[in-house]
Subunit: 542 residues, 2 copies
Amino acid sequence: MLGLMQSQQLLISSLIEFAQRHHGDGEIVSRRVEGDIHRCTYRDVGNRARKVANVLDAMELGFGARVATLAWNGYRHLELYFGVSGSGRVLHTLNPRLHPDQIVWIANHSEDAVLCFDMTFLPIVKAVHNRCTTIKHFIALCDADKLPQDTGIPGLLSYEAWIAPQVSSYEWPEFDENVASSMCYTSGTTGNPKAALYSHRSTILHAWAGAMPDALNMSARDCVLPVVPMFHVNAWGLPYSAAMTGAKMVFPGPAMDGKSIFELIESEKVTFAAGVPTVWQMMLGHMQQGELRFSTLKRTVIGGSACPPAMITAFNDVHGVEVLHAWGMTEMSPLGTVCTLKNKHLAMDDGQKMAVRLKQGRGIYGVDMKIVDDKGSELPWDGKAYGDLLVKGPWVIAEYYKGEGGSPLVDGWFPTGDVATIDADGYMQITDRSKDVIKSGGEWISSIDVENIAMAHPAVAMAACIGMKHPKWDERPVVVVVKKPGADVSREELLAFYEGRTAKWQIPDDVVFIDAIPLGGTGKMQKTKLRETLLDYKLPGL
Amino acid sequence: MLGLMQSQQLLISSLIEFAQRHHGDGEIVSRRVEGDIHRCTYRDVGNRARKVANVLDAMELGFGARVATLAWNGYRHLELYFGVSGSGRVLHTLNPRLHPDQIVWIANHSEDAVLCFDMTFLPIVKAVHNRCTTIKHFIALCDADKLPQDTGIPGLLSYEAWIAPQVSSYEWPEFDENVASSMCYTSGTTGNPKAALYSHRSTILHAWAGAMPDALNMSARDCVLPVVPMFHVNAWGLPYSAAMTGAKMVFPGPAMDGKSIFELIESEKVTFAAGVPTVWQMMLGHMQQGELRFSTLKRTVIGGSACPPAMITAFNDVHGVEVLHAWGMTEMSPLGTVCTLKNKHLAMDDGQKMAVRLKQGRGIYGVDMKIVDDKGSELPWDGKAYGDLLVKGPWVIAEYYKGEGGSPLVDGWFPTGDVATIDADGYMQITDRSKDVIKSGGEWISSIDVENIAMAHPAVAMAACIGMKHPKWDERPVVVVVKKPGADVSREELLAFYEGRTAKWQIPDDVVFIDAIPLGGTGKMQKTKLRETLLDYKLPGL
């Protein structure tokens, strides 16, 4: 027997329709590439998103066609979020920080038909446009009178000239909520990039989950600053959750330095900001220099990588700002866990609370997670056992775009590639990447733990732990170390430093000193490359 | 092109699985019919819900079979919420406040197969059981040793004896999220009761929407007391939203008096309570007498009928408790609007905020609403124009159970039967019931406005305004008045009292004095009955 409820499909167009109708004068404030501050409302964004939909129809761009962006966080990008997906096309947010060759590869792989770009990225587009074989339309996200001449880009139009002839009325099409709405390529440390293809359903469910009090906690009384770029997993879904709740949005545009972000937070009375630790580090540095304080910011959500305890303390103790760790990935839309406290934690002292806050967080309803051992058996949630972290849920991918990489699922679960513990209260903590963990004699050694101990030595600037093949133990850890300029430490001194700081069998077998550890575009250590430089290395005694 | 996300169905079983896994030691506290306080956890509720599922399987009760309850708010009722729906049966929460004949009619109409009842309602069950022709199993929600003998109810079992033989492991079935999960009959002022048949999908989406910061704002740090009964539209969805967030739950059982509720709020550190105004009135009275104060309560959500301004003020000014108006109906699962403030309201003074708070609230994402005139044309959102209120959304009914009453929708919209205004910020205010509004010369007169003016006269105890047929104006208002004991007022004095208090054409044509106005079971005036007593009435001058 079926229920007798209305069978309304969950479509992205309903978000902007809701925001326009119920929060029409809700503000959208953007710092533009030109440097000025632009102000508009959900009503304006809705009207202009419908112009975008109309112009895509006028171009006879098919249902499901990919419309790519190379753009900062701003109101025009937001209009594209709703106009492109709402009209049945797929929004493809390209990452401008990638190498031009990668951008070409990705644009051709996704078969983008249109590319909308901020003027910042004109040099990239000039460099790649004639290699992007499927893109027929290039749109510069600028006013008509700012369009540069002689770019060599065929048929280049300004966004404003592009949408100007269109009317702002539009009947959003109704279709199956499982239709593709947007896509995002993973940076992919190995092999070619692969894309998650989100649906309207997954996006709406994720927007609900993301706005919940125990996730990002977004209401119509909030003013939200997504520092996380709109080309990083749709800015963690913030544009959707904000439209769903009518929150005021503030977009930083290209000005991602500490001073600009701080000024925007103060001038626009931001209550909530989200981003990666490096941005906050710059901002806190700027504030410390000028002895500045926040007057409205209440909380920050920090994701992308683990937040240093000192940063949590600085935000909390000096600025009265709550820091929430969040964890997720492109394949998860991205939210999986957020580190909000439970009722039982409220009476704890600051030290105990900090121990909880340092974890990646607890699962939000909708995402199931488990940790498993080598054989795939589930491990206990005791905060000690660690294993491969697997997830499932309606905003987790089933497969990659075009089936790249084959079926990623294991019995219906997506393997995150992380190694983690989960405690009895459901708080997950990542201890390593699956490919980095050292499997020694049936036990796992966290490469991050080994690195952290080395990093605690005053002479060590950077440390990378990698597993080396061993005939008896399968693998044994070796720590690769970059010394601080002018400092010195010997192999023996550093190995002695591990004594008492970890179990004997987890102490690395060797130390390799090196001038520099290869880093990727996002500042992460590239252990694959590091391994290549150590191809001829042999463990001591073998 | 479809998205490539996991196609997980939204099922009620996932709520209790999530709560058990992520909030296993989250507390469920219940005052029982026996009077004692019972404590258990989400882990316990999950384990026992699976026993319920197992016993229903063992009884070979078919998929979609109706399991009815006649029960207060408590942990066993909660176990049935998850065990019955989770295993694919339909939970039917009967309202024990109905007349036994109505209960018989409803139980036969829904074709209930099982009835689980609290011992409070044993007299009702004794009176009705042999007329409920489809119910084959009667379960008393009590310990095995508390089961009364010689009830005359065939095969009566205690709940504990019923589930005791079962194991607590159970594989929840997976099925289409549109399958029916629970049902609730409307009290229905005219005709037979009609039932809303909720689905798993509608219940989960509603639970998300209900837990949002701008709705009931539920987190794992909350302790929630649903005073609203679990037989009133699933306690506004609170049991589902609580499991979704891991909030502690406190159930008042049968003790709905002000003293008991207050004591439970204090002893269990309740942060959030929800119910109808009458309960709060009793509680505030009890607190005033004893000069008592709340120590943990932060907010109350008040629905069911409009909250008197004095109550909002008492909660806010005396007790520091935020009062949120909510509006909805059985056909809406029930949430439609909640009166949370927007960013722009925060800087207002108390009087301006109160003017907002007195409205029924603004729409939550998922529910669309509009007001229309006689011809079905949409009216502006200006806070002045009023018309029939229509809603639509994935937790609004498409039709009633068994198609009773035909198709209720108008162009896909459900007519609420309320007349309302909506202001530019989307705040809806009910001005009347559609059937009570007086349509005079193409204009509408709110019967509630006419009544409120009469009620403001010191000699008037109760007033009901009804429309009388008029050859020229279609209808003209007449106010039916019950005088206060010992007080007096003449027809002319009362009509003169309207001068200056409303527009001339909205002043009633006549006053009819009467000894008593007929009231329904929930204390609402029964204007249909009142009309019957005035069958021979003629307007003056006709």
